[in-house]
Structures are given as structure tokens and as C-alpha cells.
Amino acid sequence: MQQNSNQEVLEGISISKKCRHCNDALPDHQDDIIFFENETFCCTGCKTAFEILSANGLQDYYKIDIEPGLKVSEDNEIYDFLENEEIQSSLLKYSSEDFNKVVFQVPAIHCSSCLWLLENLYRLHDGVIRSVVDFGKKKVTIDYNPELLSLKELAVLLKKIGYSPHISLEDEQAEQIDNESRSLMIRIGVAGFAFGNIMLMSFPEYLGLDDDLGEFAPYFGLVNFLLAIPVFFYCSTVYFKSAWSGLKQKYLNIDVPVSIGIITLFFYSSYEVFSGTGPGYFDSLAGLLFFLLTGRWFQNRTYRNLSFDRSFTSYFPLAVHRIKDDLTREVIPVRNLTIGDVIQIRNTEVIPVDCIVKDDSALIDYSFVTGESRPVKKGKGELIFAGGKLIGKSASFEVKKVLSQSYLTSLWNNEIFNKSDEFVADKILNRVAKYFTWVILFLAFSFAIGWYFIDPGKTVSVFTAILIVACPCALSLTIPYTFGSAQSVLGNIGFYLRNSDLIEKLLKIDHIIFDKTGTLTTKDNSKVNFIGYKPLLRSQKANIATLCSQSVHPLSVAISEYLLESNTKLDAIIDDFTEVSGKGISGKVDNEIYKLGSKEFINTEVAIPSSSVCLSINNEFIGYFEIKPEYREGIDDLFDQLSQMKYDLSVLSGDNDNEKSNLADLSGNKAELHFNKKPDQKLENVIDLKKGGEKVLMVGDGLNDAGALKAANFGLAVTDQTTSFTPASDAIVIGNNLSKLPQILKFAKNSGKVLWVGITISLLYNLVGLSFAAAGMLTPVFAAILMPLSSITIVAFSTLVIKFIGKKIFSK
């Protein structure tokens, strides 16, 4: 594209090539640049944002962090649905006559300036009482006065300054996670408190000074017992619950031996203290719980701003415009639509229910639902499935099925989405735990019986000592710390795991399936460039886009999508529209005659590359659009490396097979290519492969992959923005990082090896402890040293080695 020269002086105003607000490049044509207070703007949206901020003395916004502004679109109608009272009441956390509280998800929050501006909202409007940002979750909580400011006005205000709230009704889950992490933190606090104080109380005994205590000696034990009570009855319950639920399903998970250890520790120590036979092992008990809970906390750190469980409904709008009998429009929640209602859908809006077209024609983009990249033209009376996106002029539709019976909803009700995960029993640690538990019980009983014949007085103490020292504290820390660190290493390179345990699934993969549209290609599917003698005016772009949206030729669609900006209005009227099949299209818009098509169609002698579209306005050749299908960078390398790593590869596309030869070249003929696959066919394909004993990694992006992602052993969703909709998956990867998949898989395999080394180390510690216990020589001091030592070894080993491997693999 042609750029203006970097700096030029026009009518005394210095023009930099960037927009003052959003720092994007200015429009190609000088007439489209907007001037305001000696600054330049790319669009009126950005100008308005700047105007609002400077009128309220908030220019510091531009100084606090580097280039904070984001492009502001001008379409303010999209929040009309907030006028609906039903939606309002489900969004408001608290509401009264003059005080409302609402929490908005604002994906645009990214720097300190955002935080500052959003917390200074009260300076923009008197109706705002207070606003607080949660940076990690990208949420802002706003208290406002509904008498001065309505919910819709609030949303529009946020949108005008570039912070469009993303509104969905799926928020409750997040609160639950918050409560869980809070209660875990309190447990850690209590265990740490008890650990420290019991150690303090035990010091005389550690140093062999307990004889000096004289008459006070019993009280030390008593205080330890009191301190251990909350540890046993409050902190440990998580492990008891988990062990119990494992036992109910008839298998031994790692929490069973842990629970046995904890229970034995508590009751045997209590017995020792009250019978006056010894000081007990309360210090070991509290230390054990402290380390275990910290491991759990480390493992549970998740990406709070990402959502891995979104259902398709969050991709749908909450409300639509219904056209009433008297032809006035009203906003109605989607779930309240009834059969026969007439709804109006505008450019780029999603069609929420199955319906039929009422207007003459409508252009629908199904790429997200079916993978078909080419928009389809539907005529009057044709049935349209929910999930398509309208492209071009707004159109009206008649509702045929209510939300709960739509095609997509029924796809989602497939049993695969309700099936629980069979993965738990298969985990490495639980397999180890199964043997571990039996071996420990066997050893405990046989040594106890052995001691019964040698020294009957020691039977019980040896039996309990074995159960105590064998408590697999270090063992159960291996997974959280190995995979927890691996998760954070992967997070740094834009690969976000839903939870750290899933790395284990990644190790075993042997077949990788890719979706095409949006996964191997970028979302728009093709890359368009305009090369011309002079830049196009914004109004001309809109006219060409309108003209192209009349045709369903893939090149027209690509051009139309390229020229459409979010705020372009497609309301221009076209006269004399003609389409010459295989040649081009022409039409008269705004008194200018536009022609698009082949060289012959335009009648020009200029040499242009193939697969380009020429443009003439008023029969004057202006330039051409260069169109290339766009695959993500490094896709050929990706296939090459993966096949070298002995993975089976396939591509399952919902699109037609136009790209077959291209894709075959790109993959070096190493992947099986399948086209025209419907969502349920993809799902069945994955299930078939799994039946054949293969472990499948599915990589996809759209609703059409949702079933396959869920059915696969590992579902990986690709997205270009973490804030946009992704189907439910095990991990999310940022589009540009997809080419790192070979390294990611290699890293996962290495993490698996580190895990096994960690398990070996912790078993060795257990062996040492066991031999002392079996010999009847386990003293409380020895236990109090051995347990923390083994835990710390594991934590240090796992985290450091994983970080080191991560550096080695990803720094290339």
C-alpha cells in the first residue's frame, strides 16, 4: 500500500503519519485524515476519544504508558440491548434507585494507562460513582447512579473512549474459582502458622534439652496438640475428600496413602502426647500439610483472563432487534424469541437462531460454523442455520426455530459434550500410587509381624512409623512443580494450558489433525493488497465493498472483506449492476462507474500479476488488488518437523478442495488431506482414530471443530486474540505461535522425563525413611528433618530443570 511521506506540512499543521489516539497509520488518502486541535486522527472515533479525554483534563492517559490508545469504532447501536430490563437485571450485581453496581469484562485492558483512565471514569461523567479495575481478569467494577446514567449510556461511554465492554452472561464460574483459591490460601496460612509454632515448641526436644523443661514438659506437647487440631480438621480435609471419592470409584489415587499418613501421624502423636510416652510428630504433620498445600496452590494458578469452557452461546449475541407489526424496532433477548418473529441483523452480526430470509438476498459467512471459507448467498425464503455471520447490507429474517432447538444447539447436545473425562485414572501419579499403597501396607504389616516376634513392645510404633514415613509427600509434589513450571514456561511463549496436568496428555500424542480455515490459514483466509497509482478515498473503498458484496465470487468476497472496516456502512445504492461470469463486475455508485475484473474486462495494457483483480473508476485504470491465500508463517516447516518427529498428520477441512494442491505442496505430501468435512464428520473421524488406538491431538479454531476438539485426546484451540471466542479446549495457542508446535511437543516429552526422575528421587527418600522406620529407629527429629528436606529437593529440582530445558528449547 502506498504511504504518505513521513512528515509533511499542510496549512501550517504538522502531520505525523500516525493517529494521535490509536497510533495506527493514517488513512491512505489525505482527504480522509481528520484534524483536531493540531493533531491528526485516523477516524472520527479516535478523534471523539481524544476530545472527551482532553475536555476532562485526562491527557495524562497518553503519558502514563506507551501508546495506550486503541482504535475506536463509531457504531454505538450495538449496546441497544442493554435497554432491555431482563438483561439489565441479570447483569447488575446490585441495583437500587440511585446506586447500581455492574461488572464489565473489558478485553482492551492492557497497560497502566488503561487502569488509570478506567479508574478516573468519575471525571468523565457525574453519574459514575466509583470504578475499580481487576487487572488480571480484565474486569472493571463500576458503581453508578442510574438516575444520571443508564447502563447503555455507560457502555457507550466506555466504548467511546476505546474500552468496549464484552457482555456475556457466563460469569458465575469465575467467582467460584476465586472462592476456591481464597480458601486454599487460608489453609496454607493456617498450616504455615501451625508449622512454625510447633517447630518452635519442639526446639527443646530437637536440641536434647527436654529434660530441662521439668514440670512444664507436658504442656509443650499439649500446645502442639492444640495447634495441630486446625491442621488436621481444617487443612487436611481436601485430601480426605479426594481420597474418599477415589475409593468410592474403587481406585487408589495418590491422596489415599497421603491421607493414611496424615491420619496415622495425628492419632499416633496424640496418643504419645497424652500417654506421656513421647513428644509426637506434630511438627512433621504441619510441615507436610504446608508443603502439600503450597504445591496445590502452585498447580492451580491458571490464566484467569482466558476462558477454556466457553459454550457456543457466548459467541452469540445476547439480544437482537425485533421488528414489530407496526414496523418499529425493539430489543429482545435471544432466548425470548418465538417462532414467526421478524428480526433484523446488521453487517458482521451473528444470526442467533435458525430462520428464513425475508429480504431479496443475504450474504452469509459460515466460516466459523462449518469451515467453509466462501460466503454463501441466500435468497428470499431460504432457511439459514444459526451461527452464520451476515456480510453486507442489513437484512431481516423470520425465526423458524427457537434457540434451544437450533441446529448448533443440537450439535452441542451431542453426548461428547456431557461425557466426563476418563483421564484421571490414567494419570502417571495415580498409576504409581496404586502400587505404592499396596507395597506400603504390605511392608508395614510384615515388619510389624516381624517385630512382634523380636520385641512385641515395638510392634505398634514400627507399624505407625512406616505409615508415617512412607507418606508420599515428595511424590505428590513432583507433578505440581514439574508440570506447574512447564505450564508457566509454555505460557510465556503464548501456549496456554487449561491446567498443568494436561501436559501428561500431550506426551502420548501420536496423531495430529489440523483444521484449515483459521488454523493453518489466518482468519480472513486470504491476504489482499491494493496497489494503485493513487490511494483510495474511504468513501470509494465503501463503494467498492458494497459492489463486491453483490457477488459471491471468492475474489469479490475477499476484496469486500479487506475493504470493510468495522464502521463502514454498506448503504450505498448501486445502479446498473452487471456481473460477467469469469470476467468481472461493474456498477454505478455515487455517480461513479466502478469496474472490477480481469485485464481484458477493464481494458488495460498494464502488466499485472496473476490472480489479481483490476479496478477502474469512470473507465480510468486506478490499480489492482493482489490476492493470495494466506497461510500462517512457518506452516511448511511445521509439517516437515512434525513428520520427522514421527507424528501422523492429517488435515480435516470443512472447506472445498480448491486449495488441495497448494496444501499438498506446503505439507510436502506428508499429511492426509480431507475436505468438505461437516462438523459431525470431523467428530466421527477423531473417534474412529481413537478406536484404532491412536492418541489424537486436534488443532482447530471454530465452532465446526468444537466436537472434534472435545473428542480428541488433546484439543488445542488457535486464536489470534485471546479475547475472541474459542471453542472449549484443553489449551489455547496464539496463532503466530502455532509454528512452535514441534518444540512444544518436544518440551512436553522432556517434562515427562523430568517427572520420572523426580518420582525416582522421592521414592529413594521414602526408601531411606522406610529402612529407618523398619529398624525401629525413626525419631521425631529425624522425621521432621527428612520430610521437609525431601520436599524441598523435589521443588528445587523440578522447577530449575524445567526452566533450564525451556530456555534451551525455546531460545532458538
Binding site: 483534563g57 495524562d60 481464597r182 487460608i186
Partner: protein, 54 residues
């Protein structure tokens, strides 16, 4: 030796106080978002006057 009992009792009371304060802080949500406060503390409260002059 009696002094040791008093010392232990005092230290326990102090430790308990901190535990209670910690639990209250967690329940009040102080640890829910650790990023925002780190950025918030860098903002200048004077900015309102400064920006008037620019």
C-alpha cells in the same frame, strides 16, 4: 522457668493476631488481583492540576 510460659503465651498471641489478620485480608479479596495495585501506586494524584496547565 515461669518466664518461658509467659513468653510462649505472648508469642502465640502475636502469631495468632497475624493469622487472623491474614485470613481477614484473604477474605476481603486483597490477594485476588495482585497486578492492579502494583500499577495503581505509581499514579500521581497531582495530575489533575498539572493537566490544567498543559
Amino acid at each position: 522457668m515461669k518466664i518461658i510460659i509467659i513468653l510462649i503465651a505472648t508469642s502465640l498471641v502475636v502469631a495468632l493476631t497475624f493469622l487472623v489478620l491474614f485470613i481477614r485480608a484473604v477474605k476481603a479479596g486483597q490477594f485476588d488481583d495482585t497486578d492492579a495495585p502494583a500499577r495503581r501506586m505509581l499514579f500521581d494524584n497531582k495530575s489533575e492540576n498539572q493537566s490544567d496547565s498543559t
